[in-house]
């Protein structure tokens, strides 16, 4: 009996250590344990403080538990009656006061941080204002001061505070970029939530929906692309450039009829569903089909292949999506995918 306990208590931490070594702390663009900006860093700091205190508490309890279990186990044939202790005021006061002290150590920075992170940048002219609107299962990003609207990929400069006003167009979602900032829910009915974050390092970060929102909740990913200021300015300008429809009139008609009745590309079409301006230079199609020339996983492929896969059968990629299976032949899909894949923004 005791041996098993011993073995377990010894093996468990080893196992745990191995697991951690194997997995590291997760991907730098996704993990809360590898913060890439000041907001996530502040939150990670609080996490480290609490984890440290709590590991100490757990170790103390484990130590007492192991000691008691080993030391006071009943020997065979032992009929003795232990002393019936009612309690001990000194001990009881100790284990009431120490936790209170620990909680004060934890509570003060928590409250400080709660108010710090609630700072409102929505009227700060230097901040980049972004209106985030969550939809079943895609994200709309509007830059009200810049007159630009995009979807699925949030482009931001690395030298400014990003001030987010989040809401939903349908059910609850939650806007989360783990390596940059904690999440905020998107509420319906004009109930707008604000948050801010900064991303000093350029690169691409993964964003997720964190509130159950329907069948494709798990597939409601987005990307945050952090670029330098000059590049950001070029992107804003490029978004406003007029867009050329395909030279082939047939494809252009098809596009007008079948795609632009819901989507917008540059100055053309309507803004009901994801804006497709520059879709050829985005990181992913439909949020989860990752664009790469060197596909390794089932959800990866070239932009063109991904577009074809998506248009051919949207339900197979994202169950429950409102994107319909459009009545198109394979050739027509190929032509449209080719055109869309060629829609690249230089920035």
């Amino acid at each position: 009996m005791m041996n098993r306990w011993h073995v377990l208590k010894r093996v468990m931490p080893l196992l745990v250590g191995m697991v951690l070594l194997l997995s590291g702390c997760g991907r730098a663009d996704l993990s809360t344990l590898r913060p890439q900006g000041p907001v996530a860093e502040e939150q990670f700091g609080l996490m480290k403080l609490t984890i440290t205190i709590m590991v100490v508490v757990v170790l103390i309890v484990f130590a007492i538990a192991v000691y008691v279990i080993v030391r006071y186990r009943r020997r065979p044939g032992d009929k003795s009656i232990p002393v019936q202790v009612e309690g001990n005021h000194k001990l009881e006061i100790i284990w009431t006061v120490i936790p209170i002290v620990l909680l004060i150590i934890l509570g003060v920075p928590t409250v400080k941080s709660v108010f710090g992170l609630a700072k409102d940048y929505t009227h700060d002219p230097k901040a980049i204002q972004v209106h985030v609107t969550a939809h079943q299962y895609w994200w709309e990003f509007e830059y009200p001061n810049l007159g630009v609207k995009t979807a699925q990929e949030l482009i931001i400069p690395n030298d400014a505070v990003i001030s987010v006003e989040a809401k939903t167009a349908d059910v609850l979602h939650s806007f989360w970029i783990p390596s940059l900032a904690g999440k905020t829910d998107t509420n319906p009915g004009g109930n707008v939530n604000t948050m801010y974050f900064e991303a000093p390092k350029t690169g691409v970060y993964l964003g997720k929906c964190a509130e159950l929102c329907g069948p494709s909740h798990s597939l409601m990913d987005f990307k945050v692309k952090v670029v330098d200021r000059a590049s950001f300015d070029r992107w804003v300008a490029a978004m406003k450039n007029p867009v050329q429809l395909p030279d082939d009139q047939q494809v252009a008609d098809l596009l007008n009829k079948q795609c632009l009745s819901c989507h917008a590309i540059g100055d053309k079409g309507v803004q009901l569903y994801p804006n497709l301006t520059g879709i050829g230079s985005r990181q992913a199609v439909a949020g989860i089909l990752v664009n790469t020339d060197d596909p390794k996983y089932k959800n990866e492929g070239s932009v063109e292949d991904n577009l074809k896969r998506w248009i051919k059968d949207p339900q197979a990629v994202k169950p429950g999506t409102q994107m319909p299976k459009v009545d198109l032949t394979d050739d027509q899909i190929d032509a449209i995918a080719k055109y869309l894949a060629g829609l690249k923004l230089e920035y």
Partner: protein, 630 residues
Amino acid sequence: MAHGHKVKRYSGLKDWLTTVDHKKIGILYLLSGGFFFLVGGLEALLIRIQLWKPLNDFVAAHTFNELLTMHGTTMIFLAAMPMIFALMNAIVPLQIGARDVAFPFVNAIGFWTFFAGGVLLNVSWFAGGAPDAGWTAYAPLSTATYSSTHGLDYYVIGLQIAGIGTLVGGINFLATIINMRAPGMSFMRMPMFTWTAFITSALILFAFPALTVGLVAMMFDRVFSANFFEPTNGGNAVLWEHIFWIFGHPEVYILILPAFGVISEVISTFSRKRLFGYSSMVFATVLIGFLGFMVWAHHMFTTGLGPVANALFSIATMLIAVPTGIKIFNWLFTMWGGSIRFTTANLFAVGFVPTFVMGGVTGVMLAAAPADFQYHDSYFVVAHFHYVIVGGLILGLFSGLFYWWPKMFGRMLNETLGKIFFWLFFIGFHLTFFVQHFLGLMGMPRRVWTYLDGLGFNNLNLISTIGAMTMGLGTIVFLINIVVTSAKPRNASNDPWEDGRTLEWTIPSPAPEYNFAQTPLVRGYDAFWKEKMEGKTEMVPAEPLGPIHMPSPSSLPLFMSIGLFIAGLGFMYAKGDYGTGAWAWILHHHIVAIFGLAITLTCMFLRSVFDDHGFHIETDEILRDKGVKA
């Protein structure tokens, strides 16, 4: 001595359908709660199979959402709650020296409405789709606009009916514990399990009405096109979150407090030592129950309540760690200096202490609102609440079941199989849920049907699935144990663990219909232990031997819940396109619902008009029982 009233006793199935005996109702709760536990466990295994590798398509996305919703709802409302009620019914009256609960008839209503609600909820699987908006059923996903199947109707109506059962059950135990204690059993002499049952019942009394109000409002939204939570019509979705968690957080303590009680009893018994710091344990239990109502918004830190609310609820939540810590150390120091025997019951209890501490400390971590912005709705939260509910409540329940099994059934569960069960379940549990902390921290949201490859989630999810299988294997061993045990003779003694301290161990196993032939006189805390230490083998009676008044069995509770079940279906299916036939007319005019309610109201009318004075068990029958047993 002659009494006027006819003795009403049934046997076989009729006995079980009409019983008002708290011990039999306890067994009914255990059987149905156990059944739903297996159903919920199966759902959990399907969830884990779906998640064992990235981009798996073992189940479809909408089926997965149904599974996770029904897993949570079933485990909380249909497995954990009834199993708690099973132990409370089986043990609390025995621990306080009572012959029954205060309202035996209401007790039966409590069971049958819970059962009707639970069955109704699960009928949804076969009626076009189970609820799929999570056990929290957040609006607008749960409103008619975004959930067009009847799944959520089953949720709102099934839980209302089951909720009636829980509420009346809670009221019944409050009345029982306040009024029916044996002479000398003052509040501060009550066993710890009875104390926790008392506080849990008080929490039920205040928390469940909030849920009922929320569910009624949501039912009006869905069935009668009201707009409490429909934002498009001016309703407020955040209101549902508040109502749900004003119920939901106390619910967590409703679940865990009885487990605290079980652990206190088991550790004390198998350490042969008085519970360390009994009065501070009582105080801590009351305090946890009180604070439990002050912290609901910590489930809503990311909802956008603002920094003042977030700061206040952060601090309030952290405070709960203090009374919980008191309990943990009291258990450790109960064992300190004791003579600890590792029966299966005690293995579960000892395993509970460090496991629950791990769940508790992640709770404090979650209380820090800014850090919670990262943890919230991630797998970290999944790990946390499974540590407190499975590692806390379920380990506590299994401990209690092994401990009180002889008192409930007269047979001791097999210890070898029990220990195999414990190790499989315990190791499987940690394997399943420990790694989930890290999945959450690494950016995996909860309630995800699948995850992409290459995100670093693969290994940990595989480990988690293997752990879940191990837990399943352990549960199978437990089922085998029950079957093996039920084939053995009923020969458990009054005090089968030999170190029993409380009143339930002074009477035969299983207890006779009337529990105590003579109500015992309680002379101190750990009443039986006190007598034992003074060299006595039984309690001093507080009354002479005499005829015992018993309540009559009744089929009304069963029919009342059948009526509610029918009414529930009637309300759900009142709307819809059924053409123009007679059937459509019946459904559209709520005839089915009215018919169901009429059954229930008729039963209530019959109960009110026709008095049933019960019957008496005569002295010679009691003496005969004693003769056979002794």
